[in-house]
C-alpha cells in the first residue's frame, strides 16, 4: 500500500480516528484564535491591528474591526467549535479509534463508509472556511442562523449572501458525514462485539458513543431538512420561513406565509440534542478515567447507562427551552420547562455517581485524572446555571445575555474540552506509543482550569447586569459602560488561557520526538484497548471496571483475563 492509501484514503479505523483528531486540532486552534480576536475587539474597539487588516482587508479597514467582522468571527467561532471540535473529537476521533478496540472488533462495520464520513467532514470544514474569502465575507447571523436574517440574502447585511449559502452547504455536508458515522457506530456496537462482551459489560465510553450515534442519527437528519428548506428560501424564492410584508433595508422581499419560528423549532430540535452529542462521549471518558485512577469500579454502572439512555431520549423533548421568549405559545413554555428540569435529573445522577466513584478510592492524580476531576467541577458549575435558564420566568431576563454565554461555555465548551483533554492524556500512549509529559500536562491543566473560571464566571455577572450577547461593541449603552472593567478582565483571562493551550500542542509534538516507548498498559486499566494485541479475537469474561476486587491477584482485572491465576 502506498502512502496515499495508508494515511490519506485509509479505511483503517485507527488512521481515521487520528485524521478526525488532527482535523479537530486545526479547527480548535482556528476557533480559539477567532475568540481571542473577538475578545480583543470588545476591550480595545479602536485599536489598529495590522494582522486584522492583512487577514480581512474589507472587514478591518485600517486594522480596526468593523461590527460585521466581529459578528462574522462570532458565527465562525461558534460553528467551528460546536461542529468541528465538540462533535468531531469525542465521536469521530476517539470513537473511531477506540470503539472497535474496546469491544474487540477488527474494525468498524463499514470501513469504506467510515472513510467517506471523514472526508465529507473534512470537505465541510474547507467549505466553511471558504466563507471568509468570498464576497461579503463570512455570515453574521450566529451559529443558529435565524431567519429572516439568514434567509433573505445580502440586503440584510454583509456576509448574508454567498457567505451564508456556504455556511448552509457546509452544515449540510457535516450532517451527512455525521449520519454516515452514526450508522457505522450503531452497527459496530450492535453487531461486532467480541464473544462475552454483552452490552452491560461494555465500558461506559462505548455506551457514550453508542447513545451519541443514536442521537446523531435522529438529530442530523432534521438539521439537513431544515438546511434544505433554508437553502430553498435563499436561492429558489420559496417562503418556508419568510412571512408576508417583509421590507428589509427599504427593499420589499415579496414572500408570504412562512414562519420564522418554524426554523427555530427545527433548528433546536437538532440543537438541543447536539449538546448531548457533544458531551455524552465525554461523560463516558470521565467515568473511565475516574474509575481507573481511583482504582475503583464505576459507582452505579447501571444507573450511569440508564442515565445516558434517558438523556438520549428526553434530549429530543426539550428543544423549546431555547424559545421561551421567541413568541411561542406561553403554555408550551411551561411544558418545555418541566421537561427540561426533568432532564437535569440524570445529569445530576451522573455527578453523584462520579463523586461516588472517587469516594473511598486511591486517587492517582495523573494529568488525565486532573482533567477528569476538573470536568466534574466545571460540570457542576455550568449545570447549576442551566437550572436557572430552564425556568421561563428567569429566562425572561437572562435569555440572550452573557449569562447564557457563560453557561454554555462552561457546560458545553469547557466541560467537553476537559473531557477531550482527559481522553488525550489517557489514550495518547495507546494512539502513538509515547507518553505525554506529565509536568507540562499539569501546568497546562492548572492554568486552563483557573483560566476558564476567570473568563466565564465574569460573563455570568455581565449577564446578571443585563449585558446582551452578540454585541460587537458596548459603548452605546450607559449600563454597559459600567461593565468595562469586567470585560477587560475576561479579555485578559482569555489571552492567558489561549496562550497556555500552546503548552498542549507542544506536549503532543514533543512526545513524538521522545524515543522512550510507552508501556503496553501504562495505567493498569481493564478495558480491551490495553490488552496485548493478538490475531485471535478476544474473549471477554467480565465487566469493564474490575478494580481492587477483594482476593484478586492485582488491583485490576482486564476484561479478557481468563481467570485469576498468576502469570
Amino acid at each position: 500500500m502506498n502512502f496515499l492509501g495508508r494515511y490519506i484514503f485509509s479505511t483503517d479505523h485507527k488512521i481515521i480516528g487520528l485524521q478526525y483528531f488532527i482535523l479537530a486540532l486545526i479547527a480548535a486552534f482556528t476557533g480559539m484564535a477567532l475568540s481571542v480576536a473577538m475578545r480583543f475587539h470588545l476591550s480595545y474597539p479602536e485599536a489598529k491591528v495590522k494582522l486584522f487588516e492583512i487577514l480581512w482587508p474589507n472587514g478591518a479597514p485600517g486594522g480596526v474591526m468593523t461590527p460585521e467582522l466581529y459578528l462574522a468571527l462570532m458565527t465562525m467561532h461558534g460553528t467551528i467549535m460546536v461542529f468541528f471540535l465538540l462533535t468531531t473529537v469525542p465521536q469521530g476521533g476517539f470513537g473511531n479509534y477506540f470503539l472497535p478496540l474496546q469491544i474487540g472488533a477488527h474494525d468498524m462495520a463499514f470501513p469504506r463508509l467510515n472513510m467517506l464520513s471523514f472526508w465529507t467532514t473534512a470537505l465541510s470544514f474547507l467549505v466553511l472556511c471558504s466563507a471568509f474569502v468570498v464576497e461579503g465575507g463570512a455570515p453574521i447571523s450566529g451559529w443558529t442562523a435565524y431567519p429572516p436574517l439568514s434567509a433573505v440574502g445580502p440586503v440584510a447585511g454583509p456576509g448574508l449572501g454567498q457567505g451564508m449559502t456556504i455556511w448552509v452547504v457546509s452544515i449540510a455536508l457535516f450532517s451527512a458525514g455525521s449520519l454516515m458515522g452514526a450508522i457505522n457506530f450503531i452497527t459496530t456496537t450492535l453487531e461486532l462485539r467480541a464473544k462475552g462482551m454483552s452490552l452491560l459489560r461494555m465500558p461506559l465510553t462505548c455506551w457514550g458513543w453508542f447513545s451519541t450515534a443514536i442521537i446523531s442519527l435522529f438529530a442530523f437528519a432534521v438539521l439537513i431538512a431544515a438546511g434544505v428548506l433554508l437553502l430553498m428560501d435563499r436561492e429558489l424564492g420559496t417562503s418556508f420561513f419568510l412571512p408576508a410584508g417583509l421590507v428589509i433595508n427599504d427593499k420589499p422581499i415579496g414572500r408570504a406565509g412562512g414562519s420564522p419560528l418554524l426554523w427555530q423549532h427545527l433548528f433546536w430540535f437538532f440543537g438541543h440534542p447536539e449538546v448531548y452529542i457533544a458531551i455524552l462521549p465525554g461523560m463516558g471518558i470521565i467515568s473511565t478515567v475516574l474509575a481507573t485512577f481511583s482504582r475503583k469500579p464505576v459507582f452505579g454502572y447501571k444507573a450511569m447507562v440508564a442515565a445516558l439512555l434517558f438523556i438520549g431520549f428526553f434530549g429530543f423533548l426539550v428543544w423549546g427551552h431555547h424559545m421561551f421568549i421567541s413568541g411561542m405559545n406561553p403554555y408550551s413554555s411551561i411544558a418545555f420547562s418541566v421537561l427540561t428540569l426533568i432532564i437535569g435529573v440524570p445529569s445530576a445522577i451522573k455527578t453523584f455517581n462520579w463523586l461516588g466513584t472517587i469516594w473511598g478510592g486511591s486517587l492517582h492524580l495523573t494529568t488525565a485524572m486532573l482533567w477528569a476531576l476538573g470536568f466534574v467541577s466545571v460540570f457542576v458549575t455550568g449545570g447549576l446555571t442551566g437550572i436557572w435558564l430552564g425556568q421561563p420566568a428567569l429566562d425572561l431576563y437572562f435569555h440572550d445575555t452573557y449569562l447564557v454565554v457563560g453557561h454554555f461555555h462552561m457546560i458545553m465548551g469547557v466541560a467537553a474540552v476537559f473531557a477531550m483533554f482527559a481522553g488525550t492524556y489517557y489514550w495518547w500512549p495507546r494512539m502513538t506509543g509515547r507518553m505525554l509529559g506529565e509536568t507540562t500536562g499539569k501546568v497546562h491543566f492548572y492554568c486552563t482550569f483557573i483560566g476558564v473560571y476567570m473568563i466565564f464566571i465574569p460573563m455570568h455577572f455581565a449577564g446578571i447586569a443585563g449585558n446582551p450577547r452578540r454585541y460587537s461593541d458596548f459603548s452605546q449603552f450607559e449600563f454597559l459602560r459600567d461593565l468595562k472593567m469586567l470585560h477587560l478582565g475576561m479579555t485578559h483571562a482569555a489571552f492567558f488561557t489561549a496562550a497556555v493551550q500552546f503548552l498542549f500542542l507542544f506536549n503532543l509534538l514533543w512526545s513524538l520526538r521522545s524515543r522512550a516507548k510507552a508501556p503496553a498498559n501504562p495505567w493498569r486499566a481493564t478495558t480491551l484497548e490495553w490488552a496485548t494485541p493478538s490475531d485471535e479475537p478476544p474473549v471477554v469474561y467480565r465487566g469493564a471496571y474490575e478494580f481492587s476486587t477483594p482476593g484478586a491477584r492485582r488491583d485490576f482485572r482486564m476484561q479478557n483475563e481468563e481467570e485469576d491465576t498468576g502469570t
Binding site: 417583509l246 420547562s337 476531576l373 420566568a393 446582551p468
Partner: protein, 260 residues
C-alpha cells in the same frame, strides 16, 4: 492535593463574586421585577448551597482519598443511594419548574383588571418606533413599504386610513407611571427583542406576528431599551429609552404631541 486547594480557592472566589453583587441587576421598578428578584435570590441561594456542597465535597474527596499507598474500597454502587439522590433532585427540580411557572403565568397568561393603554412597539434594523393610537384609540393601518423616516412617516401609516391620522409615533417609549400598558411588538424586517432590564422582561419581535406584552412601571425615570436578538451588524446600537412619567406629565406630553 494542590487540586483540592485550587478547587476550594476557585469556589471561594466564585462565591464571593456572587455574594458581593458588584455587577448586578438594576433596581426593580415594579412588583414583577421585585418578585423576580426575590425568586432569583431563592434560586441563587439554593444553587449556591449545591455549588458549595458539591465543590467542597469534590475537593475533600480528592484530599482524603489521594493515593498514599492505601487500598481502594471495592464498591459497585449502592441502589439505595441512587434512589435517594434521584428522588431528591427530581423533587427539587420539579419544584423549581412549578415555582417559575407561576411567575411566568403572571407575565404572559394573566390580564390586567383595568384595560391597559395600547402602544405599538416596532423594531427595524436598527431603530425603534413607538406608536400611540391618538384620540380615536385606533391604530391606522400600515404598510412597511411606505415607512420613511425622512418623510415623517417612520411607521408607514397608510395616508388614506382615517384611523391613522391622529396616530403619534415616537422614537422613545413614554409611558405613565403606575398604569398598565399593553405593548404590541412587531417587526417587518428581522427578529429583534424588546428588553428593559428594570422591568425584568424581554420578548422577541417576530415578523408576521403581533406579540402582546404587558408591562407596568411604577417608578418614574429613564430606562434603556436594548435589542436582545441578533438583528444584523448594528445590533449593538439598537437602543432606545423607556421614559416613565408621572400621569400628569405624561398627559401633557401626549397632548402636545397630538397638537403637532
Amino acid at each position: 492535593m494542590l487540586l483540592a486547594i485550587v478547587i476550594w480557592g476557585v469556589t471561594g472566589v466564585v462565591t464571593a463574586g456572587f455574594a458581593t453583587k458588584r455587577w448586578w441587576f438594576p433596581a426593580p421598578i415594579n412588583t414583577h421585577a421585585a418578585a423576580f428578584d426575590s425568586y432569583f435570590s431563592a434560586n441563587l441561594i439554593f444553587s449556591g448551597i449545591v455549588f458549595l456542597a458539591a465543590q467542597l465535597a469534590l475537593g475533600w474527596l480528592i484530599w482524603r482519598h489521594r493515593n498514599r499507598g492505601q487500598q481502594a474500597v471495592h464498591s459497585d454502587g449502592n441502589n439505595r443511594m441512587e434512589l435517594l439522590w434521584t428522588s431528591l433532585t427530581a423533587i427539587l427540580f420539579l419544584g423549581a419548574a412549578i415555582g417559575s411557572a407561576r411567575m411566568w403565568s403572571d407575565v404572559h397568561l394573566s390580564t390586567f383588571s383595568t384595560t391597559p393603554m395600547r402602544i405599538e412597539a416596532s423594531g427595524k434594523q436598527f431603530a425603534w418606533n413607538f406608536r400611540y393610537p391618538g384620540a380615536d384609540g385606533k391604530f391606522g393601518k400600515t404598510d412597511a413599504r411606505l415607512a420613511n423616516d425622512a418623510a415623517g412617516n417612520p411607521a408607514g401609516i397608510l395616508p388614506d386610513d382615517p384611523a391613522g391620522k391622529d396616530d403619534i409615533v415616537n422614537a422613545a417609549l413614554r409611558i405613565p407611571a403606575g398604569r398598565p400598558v399593553q405593548l404590541i411588538l412587531r417587526s417587518n424586517d428581522v427578529l429583534h427583542n424588546f428588553f428593559v432590564r428594570e422591568l425584568r422582561v424581554k420578548q422577541d419581535l417576530v415578523p408576521g406576528l403581533d406579540i402582546p406584552l404587558h408591562i407596568l412601571a411604577d417608578k418614574p425615570g429613564e430606562y434603556e431599551i436594548a435589542c436582545s436578538e441578533l438583528c444584523g451588524l448594528g445590533h449593538h446600537q439598537m437602543r432606545s429609552v423607556m421614559i416613565v412619567l408621572p400621569q400628569p406629565d405624561f398627559d401633557s406630553w401626549l397632548g402636545k404631541q397630538a397638537a403637532k
